[in-house]
Symmetry: C2
Subunit: 772 residues, 2 copies
């Protein structure tokens, strides 16, 4: 899509230089403003043309009964949950001399939108000649505040050019908007029928508007309050109230060359428990404070947070402007999705669309937490807290299926399992190990060991327990085996001894044992509390260790590679060369039986194991594994490219590494997966960070210590970033001749650079070391 | 249920000696009268109490969109089909002195129902004192004619006892009755919402009533015509017409000791193409002829067909009256389900209930055709013709999934795949080989080689082609392997190299090659027609043979047993000893992942291979296989016991064989599966024939010839049956000392008796040979 002429490549902005109706659906996603609490898709203020109007509140959903076919009843889940388009506060309708602004009528002299990632705003600038005469220039600014998460603000300025015009502005809150979503793509949201937001209150008082709704099935309350301020012209707001819509209308006669600016301040409050009245008071208070501040001050405080983020998170890359823009876009999406998400988890699409129904997946643990832990650790902690908060539901689910420990949901919003297709849902048991991996990674990055007593240790214990009850000792193999699982590659399902699952489970088991043993030794009171909370018995730690030590790791001696699972290497080859572009993603065009029985890989699976647990694998095995699996992997998931970039870099295949880095960061800007309309590929685009930091810079933090092995592929001349390691903030700048390491915060840090030890502290805060 | 005091054990009847409200649901099923074209559940004429009113027409269904969850879209099927309760012609409401007959009010002096399997009728005899006085005795007879399939008849006689009564009889046709089905048991039908039968015509003319409907989605037309005759009292029918019901009402003043008899003659006609008017004419013509005959003559012609059936199909067993009754019940259900089914296939429940939505399964080929071929060959041929008729749909389905040949539907009514859970649906590819097996078995029994040119050869070719495209040559094993299939045991799914599937596929491949090669040699014109119809190339037969010859047959050298599939023996054990009765069937209580990963077997799988293709297995292997699999098989399907009976008998485990025979034939009468309410287990109960003939009598007809090895388990003193072999009818009578074989029709037959050759012909039509 960046190939689209309307999109220049820029360092800090994403610009659409013209209105491009054919990409309205995509720009709605790309131009989302969000802060993790609320998200407003880049819909035009006038509401049309639109693909999918979207105003989202993180964790706010509608539930509905799950539809069932002839699967076994014990496999059924009762309820599905869908992220909901709530009250649309973006709507500001303009009419010029009685003609409503519609970019498909009249004459559009220019139309330009800019997502300013440095400033955290979406701006719009258009000039339109209405069909009944009158030419206006409209300039808008829109933001979702990172300083006050419940708050969004829109500034809407209309200027009369050339001649006087009569201008009418209707600003409202609209509920139950219809959408135009396509069907039969499982990556989209399932449609909800009928009106979901049930009317509770709708009020207009002067310039202030309030709308309150309760969802039909999930019974969540939501209140939206908007206040309006007009500058540049006297104003007299008239109430507008029709079913599903409440707002105010202004009428202005603008002399040529004069302008009027409408500022709309929007607050959203929601709850499953607090009543409408309480939410209304809270939202009104937010709007009161915002009105007192005014748009400029709101934007300033918001910008300060954005700036702080970039100070800690930015990656500078010289030599490839597209990668530079893509990396920033990915990091910016990560900020928008997670900053104020709280303990409600983060959807696969963040707050940019309804793809995957707004469900939370393993993306969070394997692709978000490892990045956030290094650049936005509070958000990483909140993501882990989401799993702590839903641990009881996961325990109940494990029990219901006859397992021990915790069985976290493959798809969820509230914490219950809502995936109805267990072969690619519940069977993806690796999620348990992914969560444990995220806990470990977060603590290594931040040094926040206190998190262990605040839920972290319980997560480790309960996930380890799941493995013990899922797996069994196979006497024929003399090893601990785990059967009937689905690994990350969903083009194989219900396999035995998936390599990734087994080695990640082993890590989970040994980490749980190790952490609990340390705690028993060093903090017996904390240990006692964990024992009370989990009923842990000492012998369990022995069993964890034994299962980890005897974990079956499939290996093919003849080929010197790791089979993806017991059956994979026996399956028939899949003729990828015979396919055309329109056959992808394969899941839309080939029956799962065809895919499951063939040697075709949807996304990094063995390769992901090599990436996350690289110290468990021999380098030459890695080389052979990569050579075997890479050509049969189709990357039909955006969760594939980053691990390929990392392993390719480790193997010295720098051109491949750069190619996979580009695939990460351009997935949305170039619409590589052809479904940006449904929301950004949050984990995919954010994993560009991993491709750079763990790939090109070769950063690792394992139990054995921290290391870098920076390389620069042809075409890149400099990379600069900083990251948290063991609680210290380290700046890294890679150029051709050498790498500069700088201790930016923290007392000391010691690491390896290409096998050479480097130590930084207050006396030696910076060193430059040559690259090989 | 026969344990129920209301049910004595009898040889030719099933009697309920009292009204037992707690088993109303079960008796509705057991007392069904049907002929394969139409079926009337054993609902009371007055309509209540009822569990599920049922009037079924074979092949008549409503369609609806399939509900989908988050499975891959390429796995979705668009449409489901459900057998429909059509216009209820059974309804005859009696009121006595103004009080409607309701067995839950007034006083019931007696109530007795008898299913007369020798005569083919259901009779009812009750005596009721109405709450407003007046005591009546009601005697009814009900049949679905095996002489005129569109016709059912009810004779309803009311007698005033002790005092005069005013009697009102309302006989009607009722549509869209509500049901009380339970939920969350996949073996039941899925509910249909709203009225499915759309009103087209409803007419009353004198004593004749007509009701015509069209189904909402499937657009099938159905017309029911009823005519009434009254004897014993002057009559004056009054029309009754309310929405959904049309009928006639009679009013009689019966003197004490007098009676009146209402005869209701019912004709059903339906079509997807013929218009209502045409169907109405046809149904009226049926009723015209029936009225001319009268009830007694109708019953007589019907009884003649039943008698002929028993002449050919009866099995006499001395020594176990329950087995005797159960065997006859099973055979009678087979007659009722298949006799006039035509080429529309036969539902898993026949026409006795809506269980499994009325879908057709592999039951037909593996459990019905092999029995029907020996006792009711026209019905066997019609069942095979159903597959011929739907071959094009199966070709299209194979093509849609990227396979060659024909992929027949796992569940269907019309011929399209309607199973929405492919791991236990489409993945059960063995259906293809089952169909080929049925073709072979039918021809061996009947000698009807003409069937090959009437669709049989095409079935063999197209199913063989499927295997070639499904499987592949695995270089590591040097064998033809078939991956990602589900065998008969649905507690394992998506496995590689399921033993049953592989050996059945090999048989299919070699049979197709052999039949086509013979045809090319012996009937070149026929062969040319098959080549034209299928595009067969000569080299394909080589490939069939090569795949068959190199088919991978899993074998565990160490244990000397056949693994059910590549993974099975590696899976964890399943602790059956820890389970209680209420944990069964396991599919209702254990998540499929738990079952799939454990060594627990739902139903005969390896054992079924040993049964159907026993000549491919060594006797000592069979013994070890049976010893391994039998203890871990839970028989959660009724399609399990017969093969266990057959293999147990072959291994000389006669007590086991008798036990499994009892499990076959008592599954419904004793309600062993606790769901007789939804219909009989047609294949299960009919497979009692296999348990006796292939089990105790040790009958086999393989490519190598025909053989018997009769044994009598303790408790049985005599078994007598007859069967078709190679077109000849052979009578067999087994007693302790010896077995009498008698050629009852046909020119000659030669077979082995316990290894000794026996030849029968016109000169020696009967021999007695000693048993070992």
């Amino acid at each position: 899509m960046i190939g689209h002429p309307a999109f220049p490549v820029e360092a800090w902005t994403v610009t659409e230089t013209d209105l491009s109706p054919e990409i309205v659906a995509q720009t709605e996603t790309l131009f989302t403003v969000a802060n993790g609490y609320l998200g407003l898709r880049g819909n035009l203020e006038e509401g049309a043309p639109a693909y999918q109007p979207g105003s989202y509140l993180n964790g706010f959903y509608e539930s509905r009964p799950t539809l069932s076919g002839d699967e076994p009843p014990s496999a059924r889940v009762e309820t599905n949950e869908t992220q909901l388009n709530v009250t649309d506060g973006k709507i500001i309708r303009l009419s010029v001399n009685g003609s409503p602004l519609d970019l498909r009528t009249g004459r559009l002299r220019w139309h330009r939108r800019v997502l300013d990632m440095a400033g955290g705003e979406l701006t719009r600038d258009l000039c339109w000649e209405g069909p009944r005469g009158g030419t206006v220039r409209v300039r808008t600014r829109r933001l979702a505040s990172l300083a006050t998460p419940e708050l969004a603000a829109i500034s809407y300025r209309v200027e009369a050019l050339e001649e006087p015009v009569t201008v009418e502005l209707t600003s409202s809150l609209v509920a139950n908007e219809s959408t135009q979503m396509r069907e039969d793509d499982p990556r989209e949201a399932a449609p909800l029928y009928g009106r979901v937001l049930l009317h509770r209150r709708a009020e207009v008082s002067g310039s202030r508007v309030l709308a309150a709704y309760t969802t039909r099935s999930s019974r969540l309350n939501v209140v939206t309050v908007a206040d309006h301020e007009v500058t540049g012209h006297p104003s007299n707001p008239q109430p507008v109230q029709v079913p599903g819509e409440v707002g105010v209308r202004y009428r202005f006669l603008l002399e040529a060359g004069t302008s009027v600016t409408l500022t709309k301040l929007l607050a959203y409050e929601w709850s499953s428990e607090r009543p409408i009245r309480e939410l209304a008071d809270a939202a009104s208070a937010v709007v009161d404070r915002a009105s007192a501040e005014g748009f400029d001050r709101i934007a300033e405080r918001h910008r300060a947070v954005v700036r702080q983020f970039w100070d800690r998170a930015d990656i500078e890359v010289d030599g490839d402007p597209e990668v530079q823009q893509g990396l920033r876009f990915g990091l910016y999406q990560l900020l928008q999705a997670t900053a104020e998400a709280g303990e409600l988890g983060v959807a696969a699409k963040g707050l940019t669309g309804q793809g995957y129904d707004g469900h939370r997946f393993w993306d969070s643990e394997v692709f978000l937490v490892p990045v956030l832990s290094r650049i936005l650790p509070e958000a990483a902690r909140a993501l882990l807290a989401f799993r702590c908060r839903t641990l009881d539901a996961a325990r109940a689910r494990a029990k219901a299926l006859g397992y021990a420990g915790a069985l976290f949901p493959w798809r969820t919003i509230s914490g219950i399992e809502v995936s109805s297709y267990f072969p690619e849902g519940t069977a993806a048991f690796h999620l348990a190990a992914d969560i444990a991996y995220a806990v470990t990674t977060y603590i290594r990055a931040t040094g926040d060991r206190a998190f262990l007593t605040q839920g972290g240790a319980e997560l480790l214990v309960e996930t380890a327990r799941l493995w013990l009850s899922l797996g069994h000792h196979d006497p024929a193999r003399g090893a601990f085996c785990i059967d009937e699982v689905t690994g990350p590659d969903e083009y194989s399902a219900l396999v035995d001894n998936n390599l990734y699952t087994n080695v990640m489970a082993a890590a989970n088991l040994s980490e749980a044992a190790s952490v609990l043993r340390s705690m028993a030794r060093d903090a017996p009171a904390d240990y006692a509390r964990i024992v009370t909370a989990t009923g842990l018995e000492g012998a369990e730690l022995d069993r964890f260790e034994q299962a980890a030590a005897t974990m079956y790791v499939p290996y093919d001696e003849e080929r010197g590679i790791h089979p993806q699972d017991d059956a994979f290497l026996h399956h028939r080859p899949f003729d990828l060369a015979a396919l055309e572009k329109e056959h992808f993603p394969l899941l839309l065009h080939f029956h799962p039986l065809v895919l499951y029985g063939a040697q075709v890989v949807k996304q990094a699976d063995v390769i992901l194991a090599l990436h996350l647990l690289g110290d468990r694998f021999d380098l030459e095995d890695k080389r052979r594994d990569f050579a075997y699996y890479e050509p049969i992997t189709v990357h039909d998931s955006s969760l594939s490219a980053s691990s390929h970039a990392v392993v390719a870099a480790e193997l010295g295949q720098l051109e491949d590494a750069l190619g996979y880095l580009r695939a990460c960061v351009l997935v949305d800007l170039d619409n590589l997966a052809d479904n940006v309309r449904d929301g950004v590929h949050l984990a995919g685009v954010a994993s560009g960070w991993q491709a750079v930091v763990e790939g090109l810079a070769g950063f690792r933090q394992r139990a054995g210590g921290i290391s870098f092995s920076p390389v620069l592929p042809k075409g890149l001349s400099r990379i600069r970033f900083c990251l948290l390691v063991a609680g210290a903030r380290l700046g890294v700048e890679i150029t051709g001749p050498g790498t500069t390491y700088r201790l930016e915060a923290g007392e000391r840090v010691t690491f390896m650079h290409h096998g050479r030890t480097v130590a930084l502290d207050a006396t030696t805060p910076e060193v430059v070391v040559p690259n090989p």
